[in-house]
């Protein structure tokens, strides 16, 4: 199981490398912001640990904060990326 | 016809007034020499083109009487006196004129038992391109026509944005986009003019565009034989003039090259058109020799009418004598190579080029 996870890790790394080969500078920041939103996936970690029964007040408080953090990361990340991409949205018709 | 292995080619000095060209330039003399021909050059033959006798001698020619040779190569048609000096049985090559009224010349040659090969009668086929003196001289004429326009125009050809204001580019219209016309278009465009071409042969449209010019479409087509245009019917003529009158206004330079083989040049620019043109504009009429495409042309002269300068040069190629002669010499060389087989001069009338070019073949 661990080795399969390793294989997955390596493959995902290759995917990451292969996808970003040539990006115009203008898209650097939106792309950074988009990947930033994606690593908000840590939210899942917090969900699992809390959902599968973390006990103790401190732990629960910490996890609620973690969930809030993760949510901010995800929600804010995608929204902000979308706003950055505003200029690519509507190219009004030319004369 | 010469029977000796040693063919002698004579190069006379051109006698026509203003003719600065020469039928063979020293460079080509050298080539013919190494092909085994002997060349006799009349002293001063290259003078008009600023090529001195010693250049000829250096190239292997001898100075002497060119008229007694087996082949005499000329640019313009010979005078009667010159015909009298030709050796019977010899061959005369040059622009001999094939128009009906010039049949006199053919008769004189026949009387003298001389074969006349007219350069302008060589067919416009692929194989004959290297002998096509009409094309080579038209190139020169077209280039010079564009320059003449620039010289006589009171304005710039190119657009110029300067601290003292912007000068718009001159608009140049070329009527008749054959060899000369295309060259004129290309040259004017190089100088920065906005160029437009017009012709009655529709396939020319693409060619005009291929030199970066616009095509003026008046909707009249007249395709003749051998790649030439045909004469227009009366109706077509009237229609063409009407449309041209409108189109010509607004052009700064109009260069006309329209010819129909064996006929008077069509009138394309009327007095009305000239009157309507902006003051200071120019008409360059290359069809001067056959009467001109512009009603107001005075062949051989530069006149100003209605504040428009009308230039109708005769024998334009002669004013760039070295290049014109060089190209012409190469045409002559190619023709000589066709006529000489195994060191012998042979007029093979089965060859369509020889057959078409020979003006004295009647017997």
């Amino acid at each position: 199981m661990l080795v399969q996870n390793l294989a997955i890790l390596v493959l995902a790394g290759f995917v990451g490398f292969a996808v970003i080969s040539k990006v115009p500078n203008t898209l650097h920041t939106p792309l950074m912001s988009g990947t930033n939103a994606i690593h908000g996936i840590v939210l899942l970690g917090a969900l699992i640990v809390l959902g599968l029964g973390a006990t103790g007040t401190l732990d629960q408080i910490l996890l609620v904060i973690a969930i809030a953090f993760g949510t901010i990361n995800v929600v804010g990340g995608f929204l902000v990326t979308d706003r950055m991409l505003g200029m690519f949205k509507a190219k009004e018709p030319k004369q | 016809m010469a029977d000796t292995q040693n063919i002698v080619v004579g190069v006379p000095r051109e006698s026509a007034p203003g003719e600065r060209r020469v039928a063979l330039v020293p460079k080509v003399v050298g080539r013919l020499r190494s092909a085994g021909l002997n060349i006799v050059v009349e002293p001063g033959a290259g003078g008009g083109a600023l090529m001195s006798d010693w250049l000829y001698e250096e190239a292997g020619a001898t100075l002497g009487d060119p008229w007694a040779c087996d082949v005499v190569v000329k640019v313009a048609a010979p005078t009667d006196e010159e015909i009298g000096r030709l050796k019977p049985g010899s061959v005369l090559i040059g622009f001999l004129g094939t128009n009906p009224q010039e049949n006199r010349l053919a008769d004189a040659l026949i009387n003298r038992d001389v074969h006349g090969m007219a350069m302008e009668a060589i067919p416009r086929i692929s194989r004959a391109q290297s002998m096509d003196a009409l094309s080579s001289q038209s190139s020169v004429a077209g280039y010079l026509a564009a320059l003449l326009g620039a010289q006589h125009l009171t304005r710039f050809y190119p657009m110029l944005t300067t601290a003292a204001g912007t000068v718009p580019p001159a608009k140049t219209l070329v009527l008749g986009a054959g060899v000369a016309g295309l060259q004129a278009l290309a040259t004017a465009r190089r100088l920065g003019a906005q160029t437009t071409g017009y012709d009655v042969r529709p396939e020319v449209a693409e060619q005009v565009r291929s030199v970066g010019s616009r095509w003026l479409d008046l909707g009249i087509e007249a395709v003749g034989e051998g790649g030439y245009a045909r004469a227009l019917s009366e109706e077509e003529r009237a229609e063409q003039l009407k449309r041209l009158n409108e189109a010509v206004i607004g052009y700064d330079v109009v260069i006309t090259t329209a010819q129909v083989p064996g006929r008077k040049a069509p009138v394309l620019v009327t007095e009305d058109s000239v009157t309507a043109m902006r003051a200071g504009s120019v008409v360059v009429d290359l069809a001067g020799e056959t009467g001109g495409n512009c009603e107001l042309s005075v062949p051989g002269e530069v006149v100003v009418r209605h504040d428009v300068t009308i230039v109708a040069p005769l024998n334009l190629p002669a004013s760039m004598p070295e290049s014109a002669s060089e190209l012409y010499s190469r045409n002559i060389q190619a023709l000589l190579e066709l006529l000489i087989t195994d060191g012998r001069l042979m007029l093979d009338f089965d060859d369509e080029i020889v057959a078409a070019a020979c003006v004295t073949r009647r017997s």
Binding site: A12, G13, T26, T29, S33, G51, V74, F88 | -
Partner: protein
């Protein structure tokens, strides 16, 4: 509905989710597909969260919903209201909280498993790695945010020659605590040690880095957060976390590299700066004036999304003999529906009609050439003025500075257009020998280099769009 809770179903949903991440990311690399790509990734995220919620035995729902509610309540308005110019620091903040979440989860895992008492080594190693990196990312990002938001001073703050040994020490402490835990230590102080030392490390590394390098640093921290998420995934045996985290880690690294290259900086130099090493400031120009640089690809994108571009050629275009390339560029733009005109100043170049000769050679239609009087009214309607090797003829000093040798000369009012891109080799002045205020305008970006090379590069970028 029990099949929904089957682990296989959940795993399959995870696969769908990360496939969407990857597909979305691919989209984000091209201007045409970027918007959709972002939303596809967001959909992937929704699916991943849903799949997790389906996990059998999930509880603590109220707490979970509380956390999500708080996060949403903070995240949405923050993302909505932030000004376009403040985007980078917002990204830094979002990245930071992501790292914080990783660190917190790691901490709780430590506590829940009583110091990984019964866990295999790879779980503890992965978790501790996540804690360390997450914490660095959290604190580092916050410093980056503070600097960009000008809460902290933008200038490098450093403790001098001690910087480097100090940073190494902090790293060592963190790693040592980690090793102790893996070796069997279960004291929570070890975990706290890791979190604190890495927090300090994050602060110390980012504080000495100048504001200009911040975007690169943020991108680097972003990649690190991705890696830490992947580590969390290994620890929790969660495929979605592994894949998503690793993809971000890998693509983030490449992206950081690209960004550094685009700014003519190297990552080692920047980080070395953070460690107290070399690396000067990245902006050039006079002391208290700075110019903004741009790249061929940016110029290309900017122009291709413009309605009207006005090319302002000058002597530099002639020197570079860039006229053919300029024409090519205009054609590319026109084929994208952009209107392109050429503004010809009466004295551009070094002889009357200099530009005309060159542009005619390149076959630019005369109708596209506009005289100064004609085009000066157009600049306010122009999205991009592309100044190619022109200098004096665009210098506002001609209007504003009576002491200037060019005072009184009419100029092209390029500074009225929405943005200006200037192509020249460096900051040297033109014929009149005077500095040009235009270059320091906030709307102006400089594309340095030989005009022909620059224009050709823009053409290439336009074609690739």
């Amino acid at each position: 509905m029990s099949w929904l809770q089957d682990p296989v179903t959940i795993q399959c949903l995870y696969i769908v989710a990360f496939a969407l991440f990857i597909y979305g990311l691919m989209g984000l690399t091209g201007p045409r597909t970027a918007v959709r790509g972002n939303w596809l990734a967001a959909v992937g995220m929704a699916i991943a969260v849903l799949a997790t919620a389906l996990t059998p035995g999930m509880g603590n729902w109220w707490l979970i919903l509380l956390g999500i509610a708080i996060g949403t309540a903070i995240g949405i308005p923050a993302a909505r209201k932030v000004k376009m110019t403040a985007m980078p620091q917002m990204v830094a903040l979002f990245n930071g909280v992501g790292g914080g979440a990783v660190a917190l989860v790691a901490w709780v895992e430590f506590r829940q498993s009583h110091g990984f008492a019964d866990e295999p080594a790879h779980v503890s190693i992965a978790t501790l790695f996540a804690a360390l990196i997450g914490s660095v990312s959290f604190w580092g990002s916050n410093v980056a945010f503070g600097k960009l938001q000008e809460i902290l001073p933008g200038k490098p703050i450093s403790v001098g020659r001690l910087q480097q040994p100090l940073n190494l020490l902090l790293l060592l402490v963190g790693v040592a605590c980690g090793v102790a835990v893996v070796a069997g230590g279960t004291s929570e102080w070890l975990m706290v040690g890791i979190l604190v030392s890495s927090a300090l490390l994050g602060l110390m590394v980012v504080l000495p880095i100048g504001g200009a390098d911040m975007p690169v640093v943020i991108s680097l921290l972003n990649a690190l957060t991705g890696l830490s998420a992947a580590a969390t995934g290994i620890a929790l045996d969660n495929t979605a976390l592994i894949v998503a985290g690793m993809i971000v880690g890998a693509s983030g690294t490449i992206l950081t590299n690209l960004m550094a290259k685009a700014m003519n900086r190297s990552i080692p130099a920047i980080v070395a700066g953070g460690f107290g090493g070399g690396g000067g400031p990245s902006s050039s120009g006079p002391v208290n004036k700075t110019v903004r640089q741009t790249s061929a690809s940016d110029a290309a994108i900017q122009m291709s999304y413009a309605r009207q571009v006005v090319v302002v050629p000058g002597y530099g275009m002639a020197v570079a003999q860039a006229q053919h390339a300029v024409r090519e560029m205009a054609k590319e733009l026109e084929s994208k529906g952009v209107a392109v005109y050429y503004a010809i100043h009466p004295v551009a170049g070094r002889m009357p009609g200099h530009m005309n000769v060159l542009l005619a050679e390149a076959d630019v239609p005369y109708e596209h050439l506009k005289e100064m009087e004609e085009i000066n009214g157009e600049f306010s309607r122009t999205d991009v003025a592309l100044v190619i090797g022109a200098n004096d003829v665009t210098n506002p000093a001609a209007h504003t500075d009576p002491s200037s040798p060019i005072y009184g000369m009419p100029i092209l009012n390029v500074n009225e257009s929405k943005s200006v891109i200037v192509l020249k080799r460096g900051m040297s002045p033109g014929f009149a020998g005077v500095d040009n205020e235009l270059y320091y305008d906030h709307r102006t970006a400089m594309l340095f280099g030989d005009a022909k090379k620059s224009v050709s590069a823009v053409v290439e970028e336009l074609r690739a769009l």
